[in-house]
């Protein structure tokens, strides 16, 4: 069955509409806006559920841009993967917005907060369902921007500003890399449509891969898209924004920065898996995923703040999912897909629950420092119960939910190593190694509730139900998944869940498993297999190392503080350097007009001479040129005057010498039969001379000695400019095109008489120059008159505005 258009429109559109209406709603409801927003999320959730239950799958599309060569459809596609993310965005949305009702009680900026959260939810639903690359990108960037605004929620805090800018720089820049990757893929496929039609990119995956390879663009496209996913999903070394993002209020951390937005990256990897499957894919994503999983888990152990711990843990688990989707090797690819698909669900459940618990702790105990907390179960029994389920799931302890998806990863890495051999054996080893750290920090988080309560910790209040209930719901979901494994071992499976995960697996699968698609099931293992051994090793090693947690943490903190080992150090150095850099103003934009003019003239000259050289322009020959003696004398005097100007001892002498040059040019015009030009030139020379003499009084008589190096530089520059103009004049005056416009006028000019009276009849004048000025090219004259008028106005303005300054 096809999804209903209106349902789809409502799922994505409703949150945005609600966001736009939030200012009004807030005025009416005040703080209870939280619950109204949760209701909106509930509607979205029900609609997503309706799609899932009624088996509505396929494409919904509206035309958005239908211009020549640029065709973007506002299209959405429903399948297992999009429904999974859709359920997370709306379902956890309900819980988070409800929770916010309690959490945000005394916080500032609630109206903006709820509006942005709703807009985020709409964007995330858009990312989940988008079937067109451009539409996907639009919603993708909107999630980045909502994240930016929410991280900077406490606008007055420097740390919030730092964190918001960091997340924007990394995720938005990563998005741009991804966009370029998208365009490479779309360019090859000839469409932006990713899914849902016969011409969609996924449908022609094979030919796109081949085409990209032929152009040598396959690896660039893969890497560019990988960078986008890595930035969004906090993969090493782009993970650094995520711990800082914890500056946001805790509901935001739980919602955006663990359960949904950061899943966009892994979602993308899952989505593109069938399209870009290849050996390079496996190498890139398995490496990236496992490195992130391990490094982030180690950093989580080094954390001193519970939200920081959870942030690193999130990055680590996203790495696990990416590694899962990365596996495509022989016999292991289905396990890989199952890892990714199932862990998205499991991680969202236990991690969101833990964040909500962290929020409860911070709110009620007044601190988030791990060392200051302990024995909380007496005062927060419900939170303690939630944590037991969620933290053990995070640790991968059977029979809790995280155990099953981690088993799939172990299975996938083992099978891959088994089939490929060689260096691939590193993978299962790294997976176990990383998981040991996961186990360690999970148990540490759990121990916040057990052991002795530190004396410094005061009375811990009970949180309101609006904060407790969402955490409980998530823990129950996680618990049910865990129980499903136990019953599964006995042959009783949670059919709807498994069927649903099968669909997710199917969407990311590289080969479709027969008629009914993939078949997914999970259960508590009843016999000893290699993955079970790997899990046992993980837990065993973790239990052995746990007593030394303190020393381990100190070591990690020490290592982390070594600048070159810390990705943050590179980021901070680069951004600080950039912010402080005055390199442009100190080297190029110096404020010296002399330099500016020099560069301008040299650039013009060099470019022009370059063009003459490239086209091998021939200079006219000088032989046979006969100059009358008077002309030689006049030009000679002009040249001497030009040299004299540069040697003039005073301004007055300089100006007078300059006017000799000018008058010589005027005489040259007379000798060249151009009396009107000569008149103009004489007039201007006279005026300029007078003006100069009037102004000279105001100038300082002496500017200081010029350095020889500067004089030499200026001489060379003047030489180059002179050559350029000289060559230009030579080359152009040598040309003799036919049909010059001038010929037309010359043939019709009043002189000689045999031309007749055409110019008088049609132009209304006898002098051809006048007729050109006031008729043929009257429009030019209009413009020039305007310029003169404006010059006059400018003088008025300069005089009138003088010394008034900027009095606004």
């Amino acid at each position: 069955m096809q999804p209903n258009q209106w349902v789809m429109a409502a799922i994505v559109g409703l949150p945005f509409l609600a966001a736009a209406l939030t200012p009004l709603v807030y005025r009416l409801l005040g703080e209870r806006t939280a619950y109204a927003s949760a209701a909106v999320a509930a509607v979205s959730f029900v609609l997503v559920g309706q799609l899932a239950i009624t088996d509505a799958r396929g494409l919904v599309s509206w035309t958005w841009i239908d211009a020549p060569g640029f065709d973007v459809a506002l299209s959405f596609y429903v399948d297992g993967l999009s429904l999974l993310i859709g359920f997370l965005a709306s379902g956890i949305g309900i819980l988070i917005l409800t929770y916010s009702g309690g959490y945000m009680h005394e916080e500032p900026g609630k109206m903006k907060f709820y509006a942005t959260l709703l807009a985020f939810m709409g964007s995330m639903l858009g990312v989940a369902f988008a079937a067109d690359l451009i539409v996907l990108f639009v919603f993708w960037e909107l999630t980045s921007i909502s994240s930016f605004i929410l991280i900077g929620h406490y606008t007055g805090e420097t740390s919030s500003q730092y964190a918001a800018r960091k997340s924007m720089l990394i995720t938005v820049a990563g998005g741009l890399f991804m966009l370029l990757g998208f365009l490479l893929v779309a360019g090859e496929g000839g469409t932006f449509q990713l899914l849902g039609t016969d011409q969609a990119l996924i449908a022609q995956a094979e030919s796109i891969r081949e085409g990209l390879r032929a152009d040598g663009l396959f690896v660039p496209a893969l890497v560019l898209i990988g960078i986008g996913a890595a930035a969004k999903s906090a993969q090493v070394p782009l993970h650094i924004w995520l711990p800082n993002a914890m500056e946001a209020p805790t509901p935001v951390s739980a919602f955006l920065h663990s359960a949904t937005m950061v899943k966009a990256g892994v979602y993308l990897v899952g989505r593109f898996r069938p399209l870009l499957v290849s050996d390079e894919w496996q190498l890139l994503f398995v490496t990236m995923g496992l490195v992130t999983m391990t490094v982030a888990a180690i950093l989580a152990v080094g954390a001193s703040d519970i939200k920081e711990l959870l942030a690193y843990s999130t990055a680590s688990h996203l790495g696990l999912i990416i590694a899962g989707f990365g596996v495509i090797g022989a016999g292991a690819n289905t396990y890989g897909a199952e890892t990714g698909a199932f862990h998205i669900l499991n991680h969202a459940a236990f991690k969101a629950a833990l964040f909500l618990v962290a929020g409860i702790i911070a709110h009620e105990a007044g601190t988030r420092m791990i060392d200051d907390l302990g024995g909380l179960w007496r005062e927060l029994p419900i939170a303690a119960a939630v944590t037991v389920v969620a933290a053990l799931g995070m640790a991968g302890v059977p029979p809790f939910n995280g155990f099953y998806s981690k088993e799939f990863l172990f299975e996938a890495t083992y099978e891959l190593a088994h089939a490929s051999g060689g260096l691939w054996w590193i993978l299962p080893a790294v997976a176990v190694f990383g998981s040991v750290f996961t186990f360690l920090y999970s148990i540490r988080f759990l121990m916040l509730f057990f052991g002795e309560k530190p004396d410094a910790l005061g009375h811990v209040h009970a949180p309101p139900w609006s904060m407790r209930l969402p955490a409980v719901v998530l823990a129950v979901v996680a618990g049910i998944i865990g129980i499903g494994g136990i019953t599964g071992a006995a042959g009783v499976h949670i059919e709807p869940l498994e069927a649903f995960v099968s669909q997710v697996v199917d969407a990311t699968a590289i080969e479709h498993g027969g008629e009914h698609g993939a078949h997914f099931e999970y259960y508590l293992p009843t016999e000893l297999t290699v993955p079970v051994l790997m899990s046992a090793t993980t837990i065993g090693l973790g239990a052995v190392v746990y007593p030394f947690y303190g020393q381990l943490r100190d070591t990690i903190v020490r290592l982390r503080s070594v600048p070159v080992l810390s990705a943050n150090w590179y980021y901070d150095s680069a951004v600080d350097g950039l912010d402080r850099s005055r390199v442009v103003e100190s080297t190029i934009q110096t404020g010296l007009l002399r330099t500016y003019a020099l560069v301008l003239l040299l650039a013009v000259s060099v470019m022009t001479l370059f063009a003459y050289a490239a086209t091998a322009v021939g200079l006219p020959s000088f032989s046979g040129i006969v100059s009358p003696v008077p002309m030689v004398i006049v030009l000679g005097v002009a040249v001497v005057a030009a040299f004299a100007v540069t040697r003039a001892p005073s301004h007055v002498a300089g100006v007078l010498t300059l006017s000799i040059l000018g008058f010589m040019v005027a005489i040259f015009y007379i000798l060249g039969d151009a009396p009107d030009l000569a008149l103009t030139q004489l007039l201007i020379e006279t005026l300029v001379l007078v003006l100069f003499l009037l102004v000279l009084d105001k100038l300082p008589p002496f500017y200081g000695e010029a350095r020889r190096s500067i004089l030499a530089r200026d001489a060379i520059a003047s030489g180059i400019v002179g050559i350029t103009v000289f060559v230009t004049v030579l080359v152009t005056t040598a040309a003799n095109p036919e049909n010059r416009i001038a010929n037309f006028f010359l043939e019709r000019g009043g002189v000689p008489a045999e031309h007749g009276t055409w110019i008088l009849d049609y132009g209304g004048g006898a002098n051809i120059v006048n007729v050109i000025l006031v008729d043929f090219r009257a429009f030019d004259t209009l413009g020039e008159i305007s310029v003169i008028a404006m010059a006059a106005l400018s003088v008025i303005a300069l005089i009138a505005m003088r010394e008034r300054g900027e009095t606004q």
Partner: protein, 550 residues
């Protein structure tokens, strides 16, 4: 002949004169000015509508046939640029009436403003290179005095630099035009295209024209503020009153961009010759690598310059240098790539042929579309940001970011407008800026597939420049809008509602242009096709070499 072509210029010219004669009655003057601005928008609107629903319109001044008289040509490229400018013009004008102090307005502001509009419009419409020079001067003259408007020492220094550099530019332009006339025997652009592609028929040597075109190109680059012709930009934008900066960045800069597209792609690109190391083919091949280097230099110099700035106007000025780099980057890409599948098209009733400008793969068109969409975004977003800066200046009295802070608390709408403008510069969807960035990236990506190296260089530049944009926009936002409220912000007066509403409307325009991109894209596509459709352009102008009619 179509009279509507000249309507926008006439409206602006008449308004300029009327605001001059009503100087004694300031309120009347302002009203006339605003009505004139409105009339200009209507005239441009009608012209745009006519051009986009019909053929290329021309207006032969005084009825003299081209190439002997002056021809105005309104094709889709010119109309697109005019429409873009009209949006900025009316916003800047309305802003001025409330922002510029009454005395300043009364003296000369309004006549100069409208004459600047006359110059801009003439430059977009003219089909004659000497006439282009004239309108450049008409556009520049008022801008000199509007930059020095406040007449302080810094303003004077900025204006002096601006004036001197542009006067050098004018001299270079005259040299180029004189040379082109001497070499080809014509000033009419359509005629020039015909002659350059049929050199034998007119006894022309094409070689020297490359150098002359380079001279001309340098002048356009100076107007557009492309590195290394950008030196005047930061100080001039900082010194000018906010609405004038908005005009300089939003409109006059685009005149330079337009002239590059029009002259290089429509006119000079028609010449086919051996360009030595640049290859053998269209004259564009010479300019491609040069434009590419200039675009790269602009994107990075502007970006690095902007990040470190603490003065909002100066930051925005550097950003303009970077953004114009983005505008010419796709032009550089498509100029570099030789047109292998281009044939020729017969013009003037089959008398001559000219090479087609657009290939069958559509990459040339895409590159120009990208430049136009990016230019449109820059026009609206940058003028919006300058006007926000002006509004802050009017209310708080400073635009130094270290004296600002916490503006989001007391001024959410103003801050929101800045954020939208900034995000549009970054290229965040669904704002207009996203589609500019998208098409620039698309041009680079397509070039990567067809002509590796150039595409790769362009892609790296686009990514690097975009990251710098994020850096300076986010820095300005953090410094001025988030953070704790500074003393200056606390003591500030309420911003005038009129200024705020103009700013908010411009922000909405960015959203609307983005979400409603379809007609905008089609407009840009039509404009880009028109820029490359030499046949239609030449036939519309119809230069005649026989008898002249009056």
């Amino acid at each position: 002949m179509s009279n509507v072509v000249i309507a926008p210029m006439l409206v602006a010219l008449v308004t300029a004169i009327l605001t001059l004669v009503t100087r004694a009655r300031p309120r009347l003057q302002r009203t006339v000015s605003l009505f004139g601005g409105g009339g200009y928008v209507v005239a441009v609107g009608v012209l745009t509508w006519r051009v986009f629903s019909g053929p290329v319109l021309t207006y032969q001044l005084s009825g003299w046939t081209a190439p002997y008289g002056i021809t105005l040509v309104a094709d889709q490229l010119a109309a697109f640029m005019l429409a873009m400018s009209a949006v900025v013009t009316i916003a800047a004008l309305a802003f001025s009436t409330d922002y510029i102090e009454a005395f300043g307005q009364q003296i000369v502001y309004h006549p100069l403003f409208h004459l600047m509009v006359v110059g801009v419009t003439g430059a977009f419409l003219t089909g004659d290179i000497f006439n282009l020079f004239v309108w450049f001067e008409v556009m520049l003259m008022p801008s000199y005095v509007l930059v020095v408007f406040y007449s302080g020492p810094d303003h004077t220094r900025a204006a002096l630099q601006y004036t001197v550099l542009n006067l050098i530019g004018s001299a270079v332009m005259l040299l180029a035009i004189g040379g082109i006339y001497a070499t080809t025997g014509t000033l009419n652009m359509a005629d020039l295209a015909v002659r350059l592609s049929n050199p034998e028929a007119f006894g022309i040597t094409v070689g020297p024209v490359v150098g002359l075109a380079a001279l001309l190109f340098a002048v356009f680059a100076l107007k557009a503020g492309i590195v290394p012709f950008h030196f005047w930009v930061p100080s001039a934008y900082e010194a000018a009153p906010a609405p004038v900066s908005a005009m300089l960045a939003g409109v006059t800069k685009k005149v330079g961009v337009y002239a590059i597209i029009r002259l290089l792609f429509t006119v000079f690109g028609a010449a086919q010759l051996d360009l030595g190391p640049f290859g053998d083919g269209s004259m564009l091949l010479f300019f491609g690598p040069i434009l590419l280097v200039m675009a790269i230099a602009s994107a990075f110099l502007g970006g690095f310059g902007a990040v470190g700035q603490s003065n909002l106007d100066r930051l925005l000025a550097y950003s303009s240098i970077a953004q114009v780099g983005f505008i010419v980057l796709p032009l550089a890409i498509v100029a570099t790539i030789p047109l292998t599948d281009g044939g020729t098209v017969a013009v003037l009733g089959g008398e001559f042929t000219v090479p087609t400008g657009a290939g069958t793969d559509g990459l040339r068109v895409l590159g120009i579309v990208a430049a136009l969409l990016y230019a449109l975004n820059h026009a609206v977003a940058k003028s919006l940001l300058f006007l926000v800066s002006g509004t802050i200046n009017a209310a708080v009295g400073t635009i130094e970011t270290d004296e600002l802070g916490g503006l989001t608390r007391s001024r959410p709408y103003l801050s929101g407008a800045f954020l939208i403008g900034g995000l549009s510069l970054v290229g965040i969807p669904p704002l207009m800026g996203f589609f500019g960035k998208l098409t620039v990236f698309d041009t680079a990506a397509t070039a990567m597939a067809t002509n590796g190296t150039v595409g790769e260089i362009a892609a790296v530049t686009a990514l690097g420049g975009a990251i710098l944009t994020i850096a300076y926009v986010s820095k300005a936002w953090n410094d001025a809008f988030w953070g704790t409220e500074s003393m200056a912000v606390v003591r500030a007066t309420a911003q005038p509602l009129a200024l705020l509403s103009i700013v908010v409307v411009l922000a909405l325009v960015l959203v609307v242009l983005g979400i409603g991109l379809d007609p905008v894209y089609e407009g840009a596509h039509g404009a880009a096709s028109a820029a490359l459709d030499r046949g239609a352009y030449i036939d519309a102008v119809g230069p005649s070499y026989a008898e002249v009619q009056s």
